[in-house]
């Protein structure tokens, strides 16, 4: 006798056969359409195909109610074509974020019609003496801590750009403090330290600080064969005041620029590396509304956060164009859109912060907006860089360098991120990256630039030598022979 209790499995259960029959029916209907029982047909029951009804409903659902909320997720992406509200028929060459001028400073000079003088304007030399007694005793320590914060102590854990991109290879990602964040930390905290040095001075209460001040300046083509030019610049920080800065050059020096030649880029065009686009703004934009009292620029901070390698001249060109564009937008507002030679020159100071480590300083003076003609009065700029001197084959070679705020102790300087350890044992494999040198000159420069147009002697009860102090902000002390010589060489 066989026990059936263990034998009665799936195929002996009734449920199995019901399911099987049902599946067969469904498959049959899928192939041949719905099978309507004859009894229903006889009774005259109206047959509705539910699947078709459902399909119709789904197609018509847009008409019944608007299920797409007003959210960017559901908006169609705006392209670069005519559907874009900022689209223009006439293409323009644009200088914008990330534009790298291959020819560097010379190209920027031609684009902005600027004569460059290497060195420090006399007002800065005067101010540098003034600030000496003001500096905090522990200023270096505070500066060092700002640096350490930007490279190490900040807790941000952001994705860093990949260092190696190779097709078909997967290279690791790193997380840490991005160049942008480090630069922000350095610029804003050093500026705060600078301002605290002058705190209590009633003259600085009128100074206003704006972040991400966007400037847009446009130029009509000079010749029919040329193209429109647009400068679209984002100043990371913009320090403004109620009054204009004094001029950095005397009227005689401005007149001298008529005889100075701009550098030649031949056979290249000055618009090299400017992208040709049709989506751009053709209006001049200045970051402040008309009627805002504190709209006169004092100092702008231009950031360079690119992970790629740029030459110093290419970074300098960025600062020059930012300074020029900011002043040009202001000049058009003050003197009208079609102003040529300005009735009164405008001035601005610029700090170029390169990845929070390398700093260069500029004093720009806008004399003319007559850009169509390369002759006549030109704009002027002081460019202040550090320099190193070396003797190569009995020849003294001087190289321009940026002021380096700090250097780190180990070889992995380029990466703002973590040091990693071996996975098995927590013994460090590489030396921990730490601060090697700190350069107080950068902080001194920032203080100097901030002190421009401030009368410090009276407020802080300082004795200052007669004859050095400018009688009026508009008339800086005359150039010394050294400066004239430098300018002539340049």
């Amino acid at each position: 006798m066989v026990h059936f209790s263990g034998v009665l499995r799936t195929r002996h259960r009734a449920v199995y056969h019901y399911k099987r029959q049902w599946r067969l029916l469904v498959e049959k209907q899928k192939l041949g359409g719905p099978i309507v029982p004859q009894a229903y047909l006889d009774a005259g029951v109206k047959i509705i195909n539910a699947a078709a009804e459902q399909k119709e409903l789904e197609n018509a659902i847009e008409g019944h109610f608007d299920w797409k909320p007003d959210h960017p997720m559901f908006r169609p992406a705006v392209g670069d074509g005519p559907e874009n509200p900022r689209y223009n028929e006439i293409p323009a060459r644009i200088f914008r974020r990330g534009t790298q001028l291959a020819e560097g400073l010379e190209q920027a000079q031609v684009l902005t019609k600027t004569v460059v003088v290497k060195g420090v304007p006399p007002v800065w030399e005067y101010a540098a003496n003034q600030i000496k007694s003001l500096r905090f005793e522990d200023e270096d320590e505070r500066g060092r801590r700002c640096v350490m914060q930007s490279v190490r102590w900040d807790p941000s854990d952001l994705e860093l750009p990949k260092r190696v991109m190779k097709y078909g290879h997967l290279y690791p990602k790193y997380w840490g403090i991005t160049l942008q964040k480090a630069n922000d930390l350095i610029c804003q905290n050093l500026l705060r330290l600078t301002e605290l040095t002058f705190s209590g001075n009633p003259q600085i209460l009128t100074r206003h600080l704006a972040k991400n001040a966007l400037v847009n300046v446009t130029y009509e083509p000079a010749r029919p064969t040329d193209s429109r030019i647009v400068f679209n610049c984002n100043n990371a920080l913009m320090l403004t005041d109620t009054q204009q800065l004094p001029a950095f050059f005397t009227p005689e020096q401005v007149n001298l620029t008529k005889e100075t030649k701009l550098p030649s880029l031949y056979p290249l065009k000055p618009t090299l590396n400017l992208d040709e686009v049709q989506v751009y703004d053709w209006e001049t934009a200045y970051p402040f509304l008309e009627g805002f009292k504190h709209a006169m620029p004092h100092t702008i901070f231009v950031q360079h956060n690119s992970a790629e390698e740029w030459t110093l001249a290419q970074k300098q060109s960025k600062a020059l164009i930012h300074s020029h564009a900011t002043l040009a937008a202001l000049a058009r507002r003050l003197y009208g859109a079609d102003v040529g030679v300005l009735p009164r020159p405008l001035s601005i100071q610029c700090v170029l912060a390169d990845r929070g480590r390398h700093f260069t300083f500029y004093a720009y003076q806008l004399n003319t907006l007559d850009m169509a003609d390369q002759e006549g009065v030109k704009n002027q700029a002081w460019v202040d860089t550090d320099s190193s001197t070396a003797v190569v084959d009995d020849v003294i070679v001087t190289t321009d360098l940026p002021y380096t705020l700090f250097s780190l102790a180990d070889q992995m300087e380029g990466l703002m991120g973590y040091q990693m350890y071996t996975e098995k044992q927590s013994v460090q494999r590489y030396p921990i990256r730490l601060l090697n040198t700190y350069n107080p000159a950068v902080m001194e420069k920032l203080l100097t630039l901030y002190a421009t147009h401030l009368h410090l002697g009276h407020h802080h009860q300082q004795q200052q030598p007669q004859g050095q102090r400018p009688a009026d902000g508009l008339n800086p002390p005359p150039l010394t022979e050294k400066h004239v010589a430098r300018r002539a060489v340049a």
Partner: protein, 550 residues
Amino acid sequence: MRAIPAFGHRLCRSLLLQPKTSHLRCTPCRRGSQRTLSTPYYDPQDFTRDRTTTIHRSLYEHPEDYTDEAEYPAIEPIKKTPAWVRFTREKQGRELARKPLQEKMMYFRFAPRDKNVHEAQEKWEHRRRFWKPFEIRGYPDIYHLTPMYQYLTKTAIVSDELPADYYAYLGDAELTAILDKIREPVRAAILAESEFFAHNTEAVSSDADMVVQAQSVIDATTRAIDLAVARSDYPHLHELQRDLETKCAAFWKRSGFRDEEQHEFTLDRDGMEMKLQYVEDGHVFRLFRHEQPLPPVVPRISSLVNPSILPAPVEDSALATQPTATEPESTVIDVPLENFCPSTRGFEDKQYLPHWIPGFWFGDPCEFSTLSLTVPRNFAAVADRLGEEAAFENLAASAIIGGFGRVVAQAMYLGFTILNELTYPIVTQSIFTNGRDWVFSTYQGNTIALWKQDSDNPLRNLAWITKPMALFEHVEDGQVVGLNDEVLKHIVRQYLKAPSAAHGLNLRPYIGEPAPITSYWKEEGRSRVPFYHRQERADGKPRQPYKPEI
């Protein structure tokens, strides 16, 4: 019908269990008649030892093994009882106290007694999957969070005003002088980017505009105070370290929850404590820190729930000179008695490693945060969903959780842990704003050992949180209408409050004072391996090991 095999299916039909091969093996105890494959081990001593001599082991021959009085091992309480939990926690706390931060954090990540690497690795894998604290975000869109946050942080809301005595350091004349100087820059900041506020007055329409507006007003206000005050009056200002858009995180355990099925991974199985991980990323806009702590608002002793529990107030003798400004008890909103499980309010558990970030990473000498300025990025969305009133109440809840989280995290950096209780109160200030409406809070952290039952821990944390106040009504025709001086006064008072430690107070009793930084060259501070060089990220995933290019 298919025939099934008679054998193989069941070896023996009378047996219910399937016999295994092990059943066919011989018994472990070998009988004398059985053969073995290998020769059994015999101790050679068994045959060669001289049984006539005895092995001497007496007091006279080994005096170092004996003491005059018998020493017995410590009497441990019966396992899995509250007494045993207390006992073990205190023991762990003692083990933990002197360890560097790295090891403290590792302690909370791994089980304590894992010496074996492989065992620890196994345990680690297990925990990564099953060790899930509740994630508490900074500013969630959930109704009526204040009582729950009060319970989770054991905080009593003392008053809806800031403590007047605490901010009495600033005279009216001086305050007015400062206000006269900063009013104009603040107006300018409101106007400069006021396109948003010019267009609309009441309803908050756009998140991004609101955030930018609020941030610029915050920066302009603090900057105006920087510029306005005389340098010699407030020397601590330039010693403040400032964080930009930083993040905070803290981990702690709260007692008073019952063992239930749903809390399988979120409850600590030993003491039935809820594991909580506070994570704040993207809301804290500015954070100011200093090397010295803010003075306590009230003495720590006066924040007792039940003063009779505490044996003797020894530790606060240094602080007893502080002015006592206890509010009348009627206005105090005490810690609620019933517990609130976060899951009932929509919070979820997440695979987090316990981590602590008080706005900066370890190594910065400025370890005491004095003031945080927070712009909740999702304020407009929350106000849209819950209504403005609930959104404002949420700000108060955020002040509680933010203040406590920062206190716990910076206590960790100072050498305390949730098992090593604070020895002095830590005070921190927070400001929450959407640009127009401002909420001010002063938080005094008295206790972080919330794993203790409330009946065992008499201390509670204190918070002073104001109602939302409008900085201005609206902008009309390029003019700011109704600039509120009270708001500016609060900002000035909180920003200029100078940190100072009580004389003779040891700020880091468990690890000692850090050596002053003489140079940044190869000085890693107290720990050889800094914790932020860990291999795992906060979510437990491994980082890529760094490989140099050269």
